[in-house]
Amino acid sequence: MSYDVRCVDLGKRYWLRQGPGSRLLRRLLGAPAEDFWALRHVGFDVAPGEVLGVIGPNGAGKSTLLKLLSSITAPSEGEIRIRGRIAALIEIGSGFHPELTGRENVFLSGTILGLRRREIAQRLDSIVDFAGIGGFIDVPVKWYSSGMYVRLGFAVAAHLEADVLLVDEVLAVGDAEFQARCLRRIHELRERGTTIIFISHDLGTVERMCRRAVLLRRGAVVAEGDARDIVTEYQQSVTDEQLARPSLAPDAARSIAIRGLRAAGQDGRDKGVARTGERIRLELAVRTVQPVTDAVAEVKIYSYDDGVLLFECRTPDSGISLASGDHVVRFDIESLGLLPGAYTLGAIVRRSGATAAVDWWFGRTTLHVDGGPAAGGQFHLPYRWSVDSPASPDASAPDVEMSRRRGASTR
């Protein structure tokens, strides 16, 4: 198959305890070298115009892969082939010098990122506009607010022309509006046919942006395929890990600890993808060190894109009693009122009468809603429908004495 990026048997080894000369000394003394492979035997292709997501837990090797792809550091084995110009969409504010003006810094960081001065001059207005810093462009950046600084740094990177674009945790930059602007820019580039590698642990974004994804774990590709399947698989494995680790000592200071949160179907199995109107169960796994009599558990559903709280369910405010040990708090929802889209589940546990949470769980569980009877609007309500046609006085057709049709949408 044709490719824009091809990684073959890629490996990156880091030496531990690497003091100056210590590796040499250890080798002379015959002591075993302490190393670890941040990546090993990693191979994948990215087709031209494809948007590939790379996901995985912390320490899986995502950042190392990014560094190898962008030539920041060289691999220890294997090879990478990249066709065309590659650029990384990163915030380059660190290249800024505080004494120089925004304009001077744009030229500096732009050329560092590989732009020609002429290209920067052409795009300067657009860069200033993107960063939203207006008249501050001729002011030394040391007078900038931290937000302006970051936005300007990012704006320069967003104006790179590349055949292959590396995107890394864009959403950590700036406010919600700026993030939306960044995502729009990525969409724009994608529409233009730019090959994009999206390295992130923001699963929702990966799923919305990418068709295909690879899952990294301990430096190796453990799964590869349709982005939605990979994200679901990853979430499943994370939940499983959290639920099936009884030896994990709960935080002693926490009287109630959240162990996991998931959406389950009627069969009790994990449900990463649900349908509108479906019966669904939200399960919150908690552990108590000592018996409590005043526990309150709340599960919330947020919109993925902007984190707006859409729905909340909770156990009574008066508190429930839990013996010490593991429990699963279940919330059965008769008919899921969410429209197709991505949602984040969150949960807190607290003591009755207190507002502060004892433990919380956010951003780690995603619920996807796909299909169902809803046609539009903001949410779904279970409904039935019928047609009532009262017989008109001058009805000539005797066989249409009265017709009544019925239907229902709720399942």
Binding site: A47, T73, E79, I90, G114, L115
Partner: protein
């Protein structure tokens, strides 16, 4: 592996594809020299970064770029007081101040370039770990900035020569050759120092001392003729000796050029530059892991 049909079509005609191959680093002079070609694509960065070095260095200082002149002028004054009033150094009728300054121009150029470029890679952790560009641009732009300072010091030399009524002779034609050897030597030395500093920070600490020793081991404060002839062959092994002395002779017209020492300097440059570059490129590949 199934490719999902993507509705987005690549815009325009088929792109002219340049394939980049990324592999584990190897120590190779040939590979390093081949990467000189890639520098051309980054000439705008080269220009911008050099400009940046000059701007930043003198930002928020009252005298600004005047320091480029003041630095050798002050050293000249100190040397003149020490070696022309306290200890007398024979200068064959030439005013000592001119002799000293003619030596200081190439020397401060060398010294400034090495001092600044030693830290150029190791001291840029934030940049080096975030974005790739040919790293040799970092030390090379410091060298460029030092060269511009050196040129300003050259203007000072012309002024001082005019004040003392010293006119250059026909040997002046050799000055560019000497400066070219100096440039090659500086580049080789700077690449080596910058790359070594990444792993061994000792280099940066030792550099001021090394430079100080090197200055006294070079004919900066005194002419080459002051060196006892039995030490001369050993003395001229110092690559700076041939450069400093021959620069002075070509500019001031004090005697014929000392080609032997210049040839030694050129030999040093011819060895250091390719080796230093290859070593630099080799270290560069994993520098981001170490800075």
């Amino acid at each position: 592996m199934a490719i999902l049909a993507d509705p987005a079509q690549p815009s325009g005609p088929a792109k002219t594809v340049r394939e980049t191959l990324i592999r584990p680093p190897v120590f190779s002079v040939a590979a390093a020299l081949a990467s000189v070609a890639a520098l051309g694509r980054h000439r705008d960065l080269f220009y911008t970064l050099t400009l940046h070095r000059i701007r930043v260095r003198y930002k928020q200082s009252v005298l600004g770029i005047g320091w480029a002149v003041l630095q050798p002028l002050a050293t000249m004054a100190v040397l003149t007081i020490v070696f022309s009033y306290i200890a007398r150094i024979p200068t064959a009728g030439m005013p000592y101040a001119v002799v000293a300054l003619a030596g200081l121009v190439p020397w401060t150029g060398f010294s400034n370039a090495i001092t600044t470029s030693t830290h150029s890679l190791a001291g840029q952790a934030q940049l080096v770990t975030r974005v790739y560009f040919p790293r040799e641009i970092l030390p090379l732009t410091y060298i460029c900035a030092a060269a511009i300072d050196c040129a300003l010091a050259g203007v000072l030399l012309i002024v001082v020569m005019a004040l003392y009524g010293v006119a250059p002779g026909p040997a002046l034609l050799f000055a560019p050759v000497v400066l070219l050897v100096l440039l090659a030597l500086v580049c080789g030395f700077a690449l080596l120092a910058a790359a070594t500093q990444v792993r061994f920070r000792d280099v940066g600490v030792a550099m001021p001392i090394v430079l100080q020793l090197l200055m006294f081991a070079s004919p900066v404060a005194y002419p080459l003729d002051a060196v006892p002839s039995r030490f001369l062959s050993l003395y001229t092994l110092n690559p700076l000796a041939g450069i400093v002395e021959n620069f002075r002779r070509s500019v001031l017209g004090t005697g014929p050029l000392h080609f032997e020492s210049l040839a030694i300097s050129a030999a040093w440059a011819a060895i250091l530059l390719p080796l230093g570059y290859a070593y630099f490129k080799w270290v560069e590949a994993t520098a981001a892991d170490l800075v």
